[in-house]
Subunit: 588 residues, 2 copies
């Protein structure tokens, strides 16, 4: 491939676009890789399409290595299979749906578990057919409430989704391990820094679930890592270390006290210390039990109040709460009129069982722990309210915020730090949710039916392009890794006439060696603008055809290090060929 | 690439699927290339995806040769640009539209003229930027009323759409010629028989317009060809040779006659001859003027009656009529109650001008021609009703059926024959409809704005796969041209044990030579079933590893000719390499 800047469909921007906040969005726009075309929808310009294709090819080649077979499903699918699996309702507003001219309902499928399960049921019948690993690379659509950050969170994007089918859990674990390793090779080849974090499986159900997060300050996924061990997890997936239960009967009896004007934890702690409640003046927020009321609505069902009890020094994290309650949806409670016994600001768990209201507590609110909490009367609180004696929770829930400094749930020694990343991949052991939904069965060796178990594996390909840009840029522009750069070498004619002809001749020569080449042969553009553009575009190696070209010399510039070397025209071809052979996959 | 039948995600079908009527649909299903997933939506199985990718690569490589640059637009686009161009309304039921979670309206764009025009306006500003040729390969969606014939007419399909932008008509003509020639190379490389036919530009407006039709009895496009010259045209685009006007005053005066019970042409001609109307007994349908009333509705407007006058020996062709009236839509007239002066079965053009009803005639109804036609009273007709004296048409229209035997409008000597084909490509000179709609301007050399003119060029890639299958099959299965076959060679192990090991070793050797290889290494399948499958799948060359393999010999089978040759293992590798190098593009 030999591209010429004089005719390339590319215009770089001098200024940062007003609405582009993150670096990848800003630079991909400025360097002419992408252009906005719709809310959350971007056009890939020629250079952007080349990078997207290279990322796709890396994904394809590693999947081929592990025997995954490529298929391609329609994106527009009828409602029925998604109705059967329950996801039509679960997805809610998150997907695009439409009716055809006859009124039949369709969706633009965000993932295809249903269709792959149906296809395997259609083609396979015997245990001998298994295992199988299938994938597709497809444009996906999601009705994102807040599309943002360019390719990082769009409403239309390119995704690779893969599915494994095995006959038993050991097989699934093996397929999962195979795909997890393939993902590591893919992201390594793409030059990405990433962390594999434990994740919730969310709407999908299933067991083991991990996300590949590209390390990036601009990432919208928060995760935690342990400083002492390898533990890393999505905040939604962090499990609070259990607190051992103790004997509630050993605690002093609960007593109720007037605490006027204390609807907040802060005001309550201040008053408790001022009055020396229970003979103590060392009350902190951690001694209080905060009870938050929410409305929980199961899919297709009716909303009901739920009270969440957390230590008063922690907020309820709405993302963790939502993940813990999925597929039900959660909203702030506002039906106080219908529940006069829930006294706003003074709710305690003592009465909830009697009111028939479900109560879930943070794992720190263990049986035998005592708390300063509401007494269910305005201006009144109780102390020594003890779990297992004065109230019994209906269960625990991981809804309290995770904080830097919390103990690591894996090693118990280190403490957690908060990190940010971009989700670029997700692997999980889905189990039999979809094979059950569609009665996918294989005839076993013993003549009895066996129900296969599924794994599901996704990579956001267009998002990966942006994540690579997040990780590989500087103040002057993009700095692509060789494996995904739109071209291998950028030849810049610093002057006119002979230097343009020389740049084109050199470009042609490099092209014939099998390199991808971009030649800046623009006659009416100054060398300064060309160099600025080259740095913005971010090809790993630039060759400047300048004054010394008449003597047979050109300058090699390394975009990442800034290193500049004068080489003869003979040497430069070898130097680039060597570099590219080392770092990437040259191709015609 | 080395595929193994033992693990390939492929199951062939012994029986013809019940709902597959055309050969390509039947064979692509039976041979395991595609599977139905939705109404008009098909899943490409691994072999189907390989063929689709190979066709796509042929398209891409020829477009790269002519300097076309690849981009990729979103498919889901906001209503506004299509509203501006008028196509939101024009497309009507033919496209899928949807509303997002905020109620904003979107469409799944069937083509992208609007977006390309906007993008060029966004990036380009000077006359120096032009010309430019851009394309994308994209999954397209159309709400087909009657999806049919597998990949031939689906609701979701892969398409290449390209657009040229030039500063003047000569530039557009040159771009058009370039793309037309590229299309010829593409379809030649794909091994297709095709005809380039003159076409209507339809909703697009514009001037020159040609379709590439793959010759196929299963094609749903009817076109005509001349036996004496190279003329070929879509029936919609056939222009009736003009009949010269003569002096209406030279004709005998019109007279009105009782013609009871003659609401049809047949009954009228019979009665006219029985009664010797006007002293003649040689009346034929061609002497009568048939007046058909339709309701025409302009986009977003109100319906109004239109009368079409055609010689009584021809029907009105609804496709030609619809094409002639686009973008207005046409329906049969049914509001007789509101128009008491339109006497069903006895309508003549004499009164239409007085009634304010538009009247368009077939070009054969020239000024000076006289007709037997309705007298606008039940049971009455008139003779010698002459155009230019007794009535004046508001214009001519190409709505009468085209018939085999009609004179060729190009050479005037040959006669037309009717043929059938599959539309696989369309090139047309679009003009300035979209650059006008979006005020796309380039600053000219003289400082004045120049409005670019567009060309639009489409290839149905998934449809081309089916069209190739239509043209390349026999009663035993598919017979792929080498350039698009899913693999280059199909190695069949005729026996078990050694022969399977030998087939795999040979396959590995061919693979290392850069060939795409499929090895049938199934242990529990009979040689007969393997041979049947190989013929169904249709790879150009099969190598049978059978009994003589122990002596170092294998059998080479040519799928197209059926020829079988025994060759040594050494010879077979060379023979295949030679064949493939001659006929196609080998790749790793």
């Amino acid at each position: 491939m030999l591209l010429r800047m004089a005719t390339l469909f590319l215009r770089t921007l001098r200024e940062d676009p007003a609405d582009a906040e993150v670096a990848s969005h800003r630079l991909l726009l400025r360097a002419g890789y992408i252009r906005r075309a719709a809310p959350g929808g971007f056009t890939m310009l020629p250079l952007g399409k080349l990078v997207l294709d290279r990322v796709t090819e890396v994904v394809r080649s590693e999947l081929a290595e592990v025997g995954a077979q490529e298929v391609q499903f329609p994106a527009l699918l009828p409602r029925e299979p998604y109705e059967t699996s329950g996801r039509w309702v679960e997805y809610g507003d998150g997907i695009f749906t439409l009716a055809d001219r006859r009124g039949a309902e369709f969706l633009l499928a965000p993932t295809h578990e249903e269709m792959f399960a149906l296809l395997v049921r259609d083609l396979f019948s015997s245990y001998r057919d298994y295992p199988v690993l299938l994938y597709q690379v497809q444009t996906k659509f999601r009705d994102e409430a807040r599309p943002r950050a360019g390719l990082l969170r769009g409403r239309e994007f390119l995704m690779k989704d893969a599915y494994s089918f095995d006959l038993d859990d050991a097989g699934l674990a093996a397929s999962y391990a195979t795909m997890r390793a393939a993902y590591q090779r893919i992201f390594d080849r793409l030059g990405m820094s990433y962390t594999i974090v434990k994740a919730m499986s969310g709407l999908m159900g299933g067991s083991a679930s991990e996300e590949f997060l590209a390390t990036a300050p601009a990432g919208e996924d928060t995760y935690v890592g342990c400083a002492a061990c390898a533990y890393a997890a999505n905040t939604e997936a962090v499990v609070t270390p259990a607190v051992e239960a103790t004997d509630p009967a050993a605690r002093p009896a609960a007593t109720t006290h007037d605490t006027p004007e204390t609807p907040t934890i802060e005001s309550l702690v201040a008053l408790a210390n001022a009055r020396g409640l229970g003979g103590r003046t060392d009350w902190t927020a951690a001694d209080t039990l905060k009870n938050v009321v929410v409305t929980v609505t199961p899919p297709g069902g009716k909303g009901a109040p739920l009270v969440i009890g957390v230590p008063g020094d922690r907020e309820v994290d709405l993302k963790r709460l939502a993940a813990a309650l999925e597929p039900a949806t959660v909203a702030m409670f506002d039906d106080w009129a219908a529940h006069p016994f829930l006294v706003r600001g003074y709710i305690g768990p003592q009465v909830l069982a009697g009111l028939g209201i479900r109560y879930l507590v943070d794992p720190r609110v263990a049986v035998g722990t005592s708390w300063l909490t509401g007494a269910n009367e305005a201006g009144r609180h109780a102390i020594d309210v003890t779990h297992g004696r004065d109230f019994v929770a209906d269960g625990t829930i991981e809804a309290a915020e995770v904080r830097a400094g919390d103990p690591c749930p894996a090693c118990g020694e280190g403490t957690l730090t908060m990190r940010r990343g971009i989700e670029i991949g997700h692997v999980f052991q889905l189990g039999r949710r979809f094979t059950d939904a569609f009665s996918v069965d294989a005839l076993g060796a013993d003549g009895k039916p066996v129900r296969p178990t599924m794994g599901s594996y996704g990579i956001g390909i267009s998002r990966a392009v942006a994540a690579i840009a997040e990780q590989h840029h500087d103040e002057r522009g993009l700095v692509w890794p060789a494996a995904v750069a739109p071209v291998d070498v950028h030849v810049v004619a610093a002057g006119k006439g002979d230097q343009i002809a020389g740049a084109l001749a050199l470009g042609e020569r490099l092209h014939r060696m099998g390199l991808r080449v971009l030649v800046d042969d623009r006659a009416n553009v100054s060398p300064g603008v060309k160099f600025t553009d080259a740095e913005l575009i971010g090809v790993p190696v630039t060759v400047v055809v300048g004054r010394r070209f008449a003597e047979g010399y050109v300058e090699l510039r390394d975009r990442a290090t800034g290193e500049r070397t004068d080489l003869s025209v003979e040497e430069v071809a070898d130097a680039i060929a060597t570099r590219t052979a080392i770092s990437g996959v040259p191709s015609a």
